[in-house]
Symmetry: C2
Subunit: 320 residues, 2 copies
């Protein structure tokens, strides 16, 4: 496509099966541990960029200042000649509440800028740039099951299995639409500096990653359920044992965990994953998704149920 200083891109949030929490020292947003996610279908961020006299950003229809976006653009401009940008970005799901809006946001922004100004980035390069905005954004560039690992001292994201390989359902129970109290970057730094469990977290997550990758390749639901729930619980154990503690859960988060455990005891294959926020993401076979969605909808305090699948990476939808 010709690069005429305008483009729109769509990207999707992702949910990590093996969680990321904690950065390496130094610049570049390098995760301290490997992670493995699925990119979602069903919810998306749409971001349009256009050359403008100065940078301005509209998020969900409102003009905002965002230090992370400003820092990202400054970094991008050290490598590329990019004019001022008018950016409009819209999420069709709650923003900043543990639904990975920064992942889809930076994936869409990077993809749109690449298309608008003809940067000619490949997927791996776009992913590396998106990571500098938000580490988990590196994964949302790609579709399906996506690993973010360190290779030759450099983080690299790649699809390890397609959505067609294992088309699971991901049913999101929205426990609260409020913005989270402590952002991920601050929460990660607090865990690294103060949780007595941080070291064991980084060590044990390498084993979790290997186990989850094996389970995905073998389509072994029970094995994936076991390790993914464990990884999710470990992330929250880290935030709870940070000083001061961070309680990302809402009452309905716990209610949903108990409801899903009950469903599993009754024989339905389902497991829960929770990111840095109150929402509960339930993984199941497609055939069980109706039952899971109904169970979540019946949980007191769950405001909304969003039905997702495993989806594609970031794409350009308009450029001119």
């Amino acid at each position: 496509m010709a690069a005429r200083g305008m483009a729109t891109a769509v990207a999707h949030p992702n949910v990590a099966l093996v969680k990321y929490w904690g950065k390496q020292a130094g610049a570049g947003n390098r995760p301290a541990t490997p992670s493995l996610s699925v990119t979602l279908s069903g919810i998306a961020t749409t971001t349009r960029v256009e050359a403008a006299p100065a940078d301005r950003l509209w998020l969900n229809g409102e003009e905002v200042q965002d230090a992370k976006v400003a820092g990202f653009l400054a970094e991008l401009r050290t490598a590329f000649d990019i004019p001022g940008l008018a950016i409009t970005t819209d999420n069709d799901f709650p923003t900043g509440a543990g639904l990975a809006s920064s992942a889809s946001g930076f994936a869409a922004l990077t993809t749109a800028v690449d298309a608008a100004f003809g940067l000619g980035l490949g997927g791996t390069e776009r992913s590396a740039w998106a990571r500098r905005g938000s580490a988990s954004a590196a994964r949302s560039i790609f579709g399906g099951f996506v690993a973010l690992v360190e290779r030759d001292m450099e983080p690299i994201a790649e699809t390890v299995a397609s959505a067609e390989h294992w088309p699971l359902a991901v049913t999101v129970g929205v426990a609260s639409r409020r913005m989270k109290s402590v952002g991920s970057t601050e929460g990660m730094e607090r865990a690294r500096a103060t949780s007595p469990f941080y070291k064991a977290w980084t060590t044990s997550t390498h084993d979790d990653f290997a186990a989850a990758l094996r389970a995905v390749r073998a389509r072994d639901f029970d094995a994936l359920a076991e390790v993914a729930e464990h990884s999710s619980m470990k992330l929250h154990a880290l935030t709870l044992t940070s000083r001061p503690a961070i309680v990302y859960w809402a009452p309905a988060t716990v209610a949903a965990l108990h409801a899903l455990a009950q469903l599993r005891r009754a024989g339905t294959g389902v497991f829960a994953s929770i990111d840095a926020g109150p929402q509960v993401k339930a993984f199941s076979a497609l055939d069980d998704a109706d039952e899971v969605a109904e169970a979540l909808a019946n949980v007191p305090g769950i405001e909304r149920v969003i039905r997702c699948g495993i989806g594609p990476g970031a794409v350009v939808t308009e450029a001119g």
Copy 2:
């Protein structure tokens, strides 16, 4: 008092400021870490024992079989000549739901048996026997602030500060009256065997114990709040990262945590402690207890608020 084969004793649950979770290998119920608790006033277990043709146990008016009580009596009889026992024990608070009914229960039982059959045990010996029924029962023998530490390879409980030294209020928010899903003994063993954080827990708890002891001696509320909440969160981090995970919290547990954090942000000195169950114990100055009780009563899902203080050890109320 003459020992004529009958006695009644009253003992109180305790709430650990520095939690106990995990036993040493081998027999005797020896904790893997030091712990520090307050014995409560305001809620109690009353236990009556009387010589009988065979052991029978009535708990809250209902005859029950209890393997822990049976094992405890068998162990006691290896050291003392004790006849069959008719035991009636009553809790004026929810049983088996994280309110330390086994602590007050075994403290009262040991104290009653000692009095009924003239075993002549001192406090330290009663505490050591009570521990064999339930490790935290070792602390409920004594009043005030009670430490359970290892000395000469043997656990020993003792009062480290009296209730009068620092008369705090302990306000209990009952989030659920249901029995807990996984008992403490099983939960502790699961954490030891499967949580990647268990080793760091045992190591770091020694520091917490020292910090909490300093805070109690100095009556430094903020310092005690910081370390006690951290210790409580660590216990739950262990249960969440056990495989499979144990979620002791109810939705109202999380709601109460958020409500108390809100109260603290507004300037009231209060901190939360949660044992292996859903109930939330809020510590504050006596002067702030009305406000704390009102805040807990207003939390959705909190069924009942119980106002406690720091109370005395186990006592004999009747012997004949």
